[in-house]
């Protein structure tokens, strides 16, 4: 299926989303302190449950596919692990929360289960990452913090496939790789390209992009041998630690805030540009390949007046409508609704892109995105169209 599946699940921004293992349900935070669980019924997503326990906005959700547990992190400095268990009164399966004491004194910003689902990492504004593992003796989750040398809020984390290494992107302009080895939970990891013999809180690498800027998103490639990060200076950097070779691709549009690898040599990034974009390359070099959003296909239905360019360009529909009002005394323009719509599927920043379907070991065939416009869209990763032609053609 090449055309993206678009679902408008809310009228308010979607902060984050996480699908369950068979993709029949998605847990979503609508910028408030509840988790909404939507279930797919026919062609629609319907809210089936609301999980309320947090006191403040939930910033991140992750759903472990094998153990079927949800972890949520919130600005109230807590994380909860939710698991399905039968309710004693009714016998139905309900989500039961377990509080995790993170011991951070600032908001939690991001959370991810490790590949084996026995640990999870919570990034926070307290300049620390809390690595939480389950202690079966006391039946609760224990947190250990990675602190040095993080100097500012940690914005995102990603686990390496070996369940021990963790990449973290932070507001002090650096992307780092830490070892999050917990003694009783992990077996000694075999040496990787990032290093060997790695006690807890060892730094395996610290990288930055030339123009700096907050590192919004980090990701390990499917094998774990390459690291990619997106930073606020509108660039993507790919790090091969063997050299180390760092390829920094500067893009001519607004910064990306989220990324996801789709195979060993390609990744999808999305952000303030409102469209997912594909990069591809190898140890020899990386380049922008194209966008997953083929706007020419959908623009046919939008009427003739819509000359809306890509976000931020001077020749946009808003500019035209003000110019019409000034020079010709026309207010509103010919087709007011279409003039303010973007040509891309998402009408606002994409805040989260995650793998949806796999076509092989470590190869992603479809990704899901949610954004500030309240839409959930599922894209086919191989439907790539070149960007350059579009930018050229949109000039007035």
């Amino acid at each position: 299926m090449s055309t993206p599946e678009v679902y408008s699940i809310a009228k308010i921004p979607v902060t984050c989303h996480a699908f369950n293992a068979d993709r029949s349900q998605v847990a979503v935070s609508l910028n408030d302190n509840n988790v909404q669980i939507y279930t797919k019924q026919g062609k629609e997503w319907i809210v089936t449950e609301t999980l309320s326990e947090h006191d403040k906005v939930i910033t991140s959700i992750d759903w472990a596919p094998n153990s079927n547990r949800i972890v949520t992190a919130s600005q109230d400095r807590n994380a909860y692990v939710w698991s399905l268990s039968p309710d004693p009164l009714t016998g139905k399966l309900v989500w039961k929360p377990t509080l995790v004491l993170l011991r951070i004194n600032r908001a939690a910003t991001f959370v991810r289960w490790s590949p084996n689902e026995d640990k999870f990492a919570v990034a926070s504004g307290a300049r620390a990452i809390a690595i939480c593992s389950f202690d079966p003796e006391n039946n609760w989750w224990v947190a250990r913090q990675l602190k040095k040398p993080i100097r500012s809020t940690v914005l995102s984390v990603d686990w390496h496939p070996n369940n021990v290494l963790l990449a973290a992107g932070s507001a002090d302009m650096k992307a780092r790789v830490f070892s999050a080895y917990i003694k009783d939970v992990d077996k000694r990891p075999s040496p990787t390209i990032w290093g060997e013999k790695l006690p807890f809180n060892t730094i395996c690498g610290e990288y930055t992009s030339p123009a700096g800027g907050w590192v919004h998103a980090v990701g390990f490639s499917p094998s774990g041998d390459t690291l990619a990060f997106a930073s606020h200076d509108s660039s993507i950097s790919i790090v091969y630690p063997g050299g180390p070779f760092i390829y920094n691709i500067r893009i001519s549009s607004l910064p990306y805030v989220t990324l996801s690898w789709t195979s060993e040599d390609a990744l999808v990034a999305a952000g303030h540009d409102c469209q997912p974009v594909v990069f591809s390359g190898s140890e020899q070099g990386w380049a922008l390949v194209g966008t997953l959003d083929d706007s020419t296909a959908s623009s046919a239905s939008k009427g003739s007046g819509a000359k809306a360019g890509a976000v931020g360009r001077l020749n946009s529909a808003a500019f035209n409508s003000f110019r019409n009002a000034d020079q010709r005394g026309q207010s509103g323009g010919g087709d007011a609704a279409a003039d303010t719509e973007l040509l891309t599927v998402h009408q606002n920043t994409i805040t989260s892109v995650r793998p949806y379907a796999y076509s092989g070991e470590g190869v992603v065939s479809r990704v899901s995105t949610t954004g500030v416009d309240g839409k959930l869209v599922i894209w086919d990763v191989n439907a790539v169209t070149a960007l350059a032609g579009k930018m050229g053609g949109l000039r007035v």
Binding site: D172, A211, G212, G213, H232, D233, S252, S253, L254
Partner: protein, 154 residues
């Protein structure tokens, strides 16, 4: 007492300093100033020969940045403004296309710096706006974002 007036961040031992966020300019102020003066001489002779792209390349290469090199920064701005003013508007596009990505980003930094100092030296708003428009068409809004994000201010 006057607890509300104390600057609490001054007492924070672990505060994040501006200088930790980027690599400082490796040259010392005197070195940076002499580099800037030398660049100005070379640029003037290039302009006399009518070689605008060459002059721009030299002026934008290893631009001084950071807190200690004010004189060098002002001198380089003057040099860049001189080149921008001497280019015919029909040639701006071609000149910008010939620049490397680094040079395009640095040029955008100088354009914004000039726009922030109207009336200083030879700075002319209309010339800067013309260059800004052409540069944005070619380098995109990403170039502008990089100017805003980069801590290495020229």
């Amino acid at each position: 007492m006057s607890f509300r007036k104390i600057d609490i961040d001054a007492y924070d031992e672990d505060v994040l300093l501006e200088s930790e966020l980027y690599e400082p300019d490796p040259r010392d102020p005197a070195q940076a100033l002499s580099d800037a003066k030398q660049k100005q001489v070379v640029v003037r002779s290039a302009l006399a020969k009518g070689d605008i792209p060459g002059a721009l390349d030299i002026a934008l290469d290893s631009a001084p940045y950071g807190p200690n090199v004010e004189e060098a920064k002002n001198l380089t701005l003057q040099t860049v403004v001189l080149i921008l003013n001497s280019t015919k508007s029909s040639e701006i596009s071609n000149v910008v296309k010939a620049l490397s990505q680094d040079a395009q980003d640095t040029l955008m930094k100088y354009i914004y710096k000039g726009m922030g100092m109207p009336g200083w030296g030879d700075v002319s708003g209309s010339v800067l706006l013309g260059w800004h428009e052409k540069l944005t068409e070619i380098a995109g809004t990403g170039c502008i974002v990089r100017v805003m994000t980069d801590r290495r201010t020229v």
